[in-house]
């Protein structure tokens, strides 16, 4: 497949402090003992999409990520690392690496996506409809928002939440409207509605941040609209809105550069082909719209914006908050354990007597635990040393962590190289890398981190 994949592994990591740091950039944040980037790359490999560019923000992070990838996926994927300046947004990042893009279509995936949606299926949908953009949509995850959802039922606790609003054509193939994080009333463009006839407006779908683009169009949009920062907020909505009048967008592509005499037949052929490919008995609204009323000549240029809707059973979460981090860790070791191809429990960790490790747990290799410990629904990284009488519930402990005797850890994240001295009690805390918690201290709902020098 002539597809080039761009993994956007940058992103604002402020929401994830103190979990991420200079030493651990967001793409390398371990989720169930694998850097989060692993999940995306793994899915891409499964779909046989092996030609990748991984875009990382900042040179240092680039080196770290590059080192990890070449160590893990050597010979399996053809990966180039591109470091871009920080805070230029997803669209900015693509603009910065635009000269690397050569394939006919581009698949842009967020590096923090933990999902089992097949990128290959998205790419295939994109090709089948000859679309300009195909966005991947999945059901709003039950895990993350189930609490929110149930509280939404009771009107009292209802938050003035933000909604993703997706408009689909009646056959659920095309995107007619997309607005993310909407707080206000939704405005729908009438002329699109006229063309489509009926539009299904869904607020229970989420944009998974996996897009297939037609390269020529993407580059042109990025060139023209230099204020566009984000794929999700700017580029995709723009393409969706302008899908029925795309001469502005498509003037640069070969279709319009055809010779005068060829021009007449070529677009019609294109329509035919895409119709056959789309297996459609009736032409899509794009074609109907682009026809003259008498149904012959094409007078308008349109482009198609497709939607790939993942089945409701598929797993799809973005790691963009500490809550999401906890959820993903829990799910990957639990209900969504098919995401990891390799073994969940590392080779023979050393456990003391009467130490119990419950289901949905993960112990990294080389970790040791003392006597009478309890581990429930938690992930423990590599080479951790855990004393006796330690209780770890619903928590994530990264690598090289030392936990003293009698510690109780609930719902917390302990980053690498942290030292917890004896009888520390942590509840809903995040402990940044290298932090030392003194003996006997108790914390609840706090974020502990070393001060940056």
């Amino acid at each position: 497949m002539d597809f080039q994949v761009v993994v956007l592994a940058g992103g604002n990591s402020k929401s994830l402090t103190p979990l991420v740091s200079k030493d651990v950039p967001k793409p390398l944040l371990p989720v169930a003992n694998h850097p989060v980037l692993y999940y995306v790359l793994h899915q891409l490999e499964e779909s046989n999409l092996k030609n990748l560019i991984v875009v990382v923000e900042g040179e240092d992070a680039g080196l770290l990520v590059g080192a990890w990838i070449s160590g893990t996926f050597v010979d399996r994927l053809h990966v180039e690392i591109a470091a871009v300046p920080e805070d230029i947004g997803t669209a900015g990042a693509l603009r910065a690496i635009s000269h690397y893009l050569t394939a006919k279509d581009i698949l842009a995936v967020s590096g923090d996506l933990v999902s089992d949606v097949s990128p290959g299926a998205v790419a295939a949908t994109h090709r089948r409809h000859d679309a300009v953009v195909t966005a991947t949509l999945c059901s709003v995850p039950i895990s993350g928002s189930s609490e929110l959802g149930s509280s939404g039922g009771k009107d009292k606790t209802k938050k003035p939440g933000r909604y993703n609003i997706i408009g689909l054509d009646p056959r659920k193939q095309f995107l007619v409207h997309i607005a993310t994080e909407v707080e206000k009333d939704t405005r729908l463009q009438k002329h699109l509605l006229h063309a489509v006839g009926q539009m299904e407006i869904r607020s229970d779908l989420m944009d998974a941040h996996m897009y297939a683009f037609k390269r020529s169009v993407l580059q042109e949009v990025l060139d023209r609209k230099d204020t566009f920062q984000s794929l999700k907020q700017d580029v995709v909505p723009y393409l969706v809105q302008s899908q029925l009048k795309s001469q502005a967008v498509l003037s640069g592509i070969p279709q319009a550069e055809e010779d005068g005499n060829k021009k007449v037949s070529f677009p019609n052929n294109q329509v035919m082909v895409s119709q056959i490919l789309a297996n459609a008995s009736t032409p899509s609204f794009h074609e109907l719209y682009s026809m003259d009323p008498d149904g012959f000549a094409q007078t308008r240029k349109t482009h198609k914006c497709c939607a790939y809707i993942a089945s409701s059973s598929s797993y799809c979460v973005r790691l963009n908050s500490i809550q999401a981090f906890m959820d993903i860790n829990r799910d990957v070791t639990g209900e969504a354990d098919h995401l990891l191809s390799d073994n969940v429990i590392g080779p023979s960790p050393k456990l003391g007597t009467k130490t119990t490790v419950g289901p949905h747990c993960m112990l990294g290799e080389g970790s040791e635990m003392g006597d009478k410990c309890q581990v429930k629904r938690s992930v423990i990284g590599r080479h951790c040393r855990i004393g006796s009488h330690v209780k770890v519930v619903n928590s994530v402990v990264m690598n090289h962590v030392t936990i003293g005797d009698g510690c109780i850890i609930q719902g917390s994240v302990i980053c690498s190289n942290v030292q917890l001295q004896e009888r520390v009690v942590l509840k809903d805390c995040q402990v940044g890398a290298g932090f030392v918690v003194t003996a006997g201290s108790e914390y609840k709902g706090e974020s502990l981190a070393r001060k940056e020098k």
Partner: protein, 726 residues
């Protein structure tokens, strides 16, 4: 409290036994409360107009009977006598299991009034079908009724089920084939609950806006642009009482449906029932009259087609959809095309061509006449050589030889068109004069005289016709009788939309071009909205700010205009200052403006007035301004609460001097001084303005320089004061 009680009684009546006791009832509104069929409806009620030679109301009643309705209440208002007489003399008064009762009113001006009156009569005892007398349908009610009842059992608030049908509006004109405007409906695909209804979407707006709670409450909503409202509603008893509770509900859709949709206190719900294979449509305008007539001739409405409805074997269907009564006198050389109807006793002369038309009873049609797509009612005389295209010709009309009706012509009762006269396209001709004041205002549509008063007027006019005839003869050629109604400005553009004539090609082409242009604009607008994520609520008084949003700027401009108008009225009518303050405040609230904007706008209006009052020299202008400021200082002052607002006024003034009222440029310092003297501006405000301007561009400082002396003086005064304080 009241609602709860109602809910309780409703729940009791849901007992299946009790339901069984009630026969299915229907309310048939025999008045459309609109003026779309004028001038015809000035003389005859709409429901009695022939539709393929049978009065419309017969289609509706026949359908109701077949659908299992046992009791129909016919509400008549305009020309109620005619409707009652017709029903009494017709077969409907003597049907065994189908009772038709008339309810007469003389002062109802809307469907809302009608339902309130029916509520008072207390004749409806359960679920009923609400329909108007101009509806043609052959759908089965069983399923819709069952759905309605099942929903009611679960949820007493589900009080209405609307029947909708697939009908995609034309992509070019954005109106359905029935000539109705496009309709936007949001429906929950699972429950079929109606969530949004907009039939008067402003064309100028390129988007429609859905409330966020609507989307939040329904994970999936389908927004339809391809459905048609059939105006057949299955209602529960509460609907009537709701009309009584909300005495301002007039229109069934615009007020009642929309009112319920936005009202979330009572929680009443409306559901939809979509029909797929059966027919349902309402005759709303001349275009739908044309469309539905054709549908009837083509038998989409079977069994409600002329040959079946007439019962007797009087009418025979022949090849190519030709309906012919038994005793038609047809010349051998007459050419009858497809899809035509010819009524009893009609005579057709030599070489006459007829196609796609309906011709009523006892008409006399001469030789060499061409009739295409026209509707000719009873007792019409068409002399030799006439040509009719897409016209409606009412009873008793006489077309003298050689007359030509261009597309879209409506000839009301007994009009006579003179020899060789060409009636221009879309003309409406009547023996009655056009009512002098026809208000296009939406609200007044109901108060219009189609109902009640219209009848009186026509009766009176009937007597007056004779003396008028001689004067108007010229209007329709030699020997012609009747008035050609004037088309009102603005309405002219719309005439072709609802006419019986098909839309001319040039209009379509123009519309297509317009649409493309519009879209260009709209898409650009859309980008503004999407790029910034959401609309900015910023309504900075300075309309010239670049980042100011289109919308708020528009708002501000219209606000400013309103304020100016209010101010001028206050000046001319000597309105008291307090009242003026109140009015401006009301405007401020309705436009959601800050008091800063009011200050600016009022000051702007005052200065504008000063410029516009006659003056010969700068000093006179100054005097004008001084007078106005003196008189109205209190008004201005009441919107200037703090220094920022005062600075705003200075900035506004600067802007005026540069743009709209350059004459003031020379007077800038004087006016500033004046405002200071009148204590409208505090010295702090002026000094702050001066400070702010200090850092501005040279071009921006023009006025600062001019008023340098004054400011200098102010500063010195201030210093002196300070010294004194010390």
């Amino acid at each position: 409290m009241g609602a709860q009680k109602k809910g309780a009684t409703a729940r009791v009546s849901e007992d299946p036994e009790e339901l069984a006791r009630h026969p299915l009832q229907a309310i048939l509104l025999a008045d459309s409360f609109t003026t779309k069929f004028r001038p015809i409806t000035l003389e005859r009620p709409k429901v009695l107009l022939p539709l393929v030679n049978i009065p419309m109301i017969n289609y509706t009643l026949a359908w109701l009977e077949s659908a299992g309705v046992e009791e129909v209440f016919v509400f008549c208002c305009a020309h109620s006598k005619q409707v009652i007489d017709y029903l009494e003399s017709s077969e409907w008064s003597s049907q065994p299991n189908f009772s038709v009762t008339t309810i007469e009113s003389h002062n109802s001006i809307s469907a809302g009034d009608a339902l309130r009156l029916i509520y008072e009569r207390n004749v409806i005892h359960g679920d009923f079908v609400l329909i108007s007398g101009d509806t043609v349908s052959n759908m089965s009610l069983t399923q819709a009724l069952q759905e309605h009842k099942d929903r009611r059992k679960k949820d007493a608030n589900a009080i209405m089920t609307m029947v909708v049908k697939q009908a995609k509006p034309s992509p070019i004109t954005q109106q359905s084939r029935l000539g109705t405007d496009e309709l936007f409906m949001a429906i929950n695909p699972v429950t079929k609950q109606l969530l949004y209804y907009e039939d008067k979407a402003e064309y100028s707006k390129g988007f429609i806006s859905l409330d966020k709670t609507l989307i939040a409450d329904n994970p999936s909503v389908i927004l339809h642009n391809d459905k048609q409202d059939c105006y057949i509603d299955i209602c529960s008893q509460e609907v009537l009482s709701l009309f009584t509770d909300n005495f301002d509900y007039q229109h069934l859709r615009r007020h009642f449906v929309k009112g319920l949709l936005v009202d979330d206190i009572m929680g009443y719900k409306i559901f939809t029932h979509e029909i797929h294979s059966s027919y349902a449509a309402r005759i709303d305008n001349f275009r739908s009259y044309d469309t539905i007539s054709k549908d009837i001739i083509q038998r989409w409405t079977y069994p409600f087609v002329p040959d079946v409805l007439c019962g007797s074997s009087a009418i025979k269907v022949e090849r190519q959809g030709t309906y012919r009564a038994s005793d038609v006198t047809l010349s051998r050389s007459a050419q009858l095309g497809s899809f035509i109807f010819i009524g009893q006793g009609t005579k057709i002369g030599n070489d006459t061509k007829i196609s796609h038309s309906v011709i009523g009873e006892r008409c006399t049609i001469g030789s060499n006449v061409t009739i295409e797509g026209s509707y000719i009612w009873n007792n019409v005389t068409i002399e030799d050589g006439c040509q009719l295209r897409n016209a409606i010709v009412c009873d008793g009309v006489i077309l003298k030889s050689g007359a030509v009706l261009q597309p879209g012509v409506i000839l009301s009762f007994k009009v006579v068109v003179g020899q060789q006269f060409v009636v221009p396209a879309y003309s409406k001709v009547s023996l009655l004069q056009q009512p002098t004041q026809q208000d296009s205002d939406e609200e007044l549509e109901y108060a219009d005289s189609t109902s009640g008063t219209g009848e009186l007027r026509s009766d009176k006019l009937n007597g007056d016709i004779a003396p008028d005839l001689s004067e108007t003869a010229s209007e329709l050629g030699t020997g012609g009788v009747g008035y050609i109604w004037k088309v009102f400005e603005g309405a002219y553009d719309e005439e072709w939309r609802h006419s019986v004539a098909p839309i001319p090609t040039d209009k379509l082409v123009k519309l297509m071009l317009d649409r493309d242009e519009d879209e260009e604009l709209l898409t650009q607008d859309g980008n503004v909205i999407s790029a910034s994520g959401e609309l900015k609520t910023d309504s900075d008084g300075n309309g010239s700010e670049d980042d100011d949003n289109e919308d708020s700027r528009d708002d501000y401009v219209s606000f400013e205009k309103e304020v100016e108008a209010t101010f001028l009225r206050a000046v001319h009518e000597n309105v008291k200052v307090d009242l003026a303050v109140l009015e401006v405040n009301a405007l401020r609230l309705s436009y959601n403006m800050a008091s800063v904007d009011c200050g600016g706008a009022i000051f702007y209006s005052m200065m504008k007035l000063a410029v516009e009052s006659p003056h010969n020299s700068a000093s006179e202008l100054h005097r004008n301004a001084a007078d106005i400021v003196t008189t109205w200082q209190k008004l201005l002052k009441s919107f200037l609460h703090d220094i920022d607002e005062e600075i705003e006024v200075i900035l506004k003034f600067e802007e005026m001097c540069l743009e709209s009222a350059k004459e003031f440029a020379a007077l800038f310092p004087q006016i500033l001084h004046l405002l200071y003297d009148k204590e409208i501006l505090q010295e702090d405000a002026i000094l702050r303005w001066a400070d702010e301007k200090e850092g501005a561009d040279e071009s921006d400082k023009v006025f600062l320089k001019r008023s340098e002396k004054f400011i200098q003086w102010l500063r010195e005064a201030e210093e002196e004061e300070e010294e004194e304080d010390e």
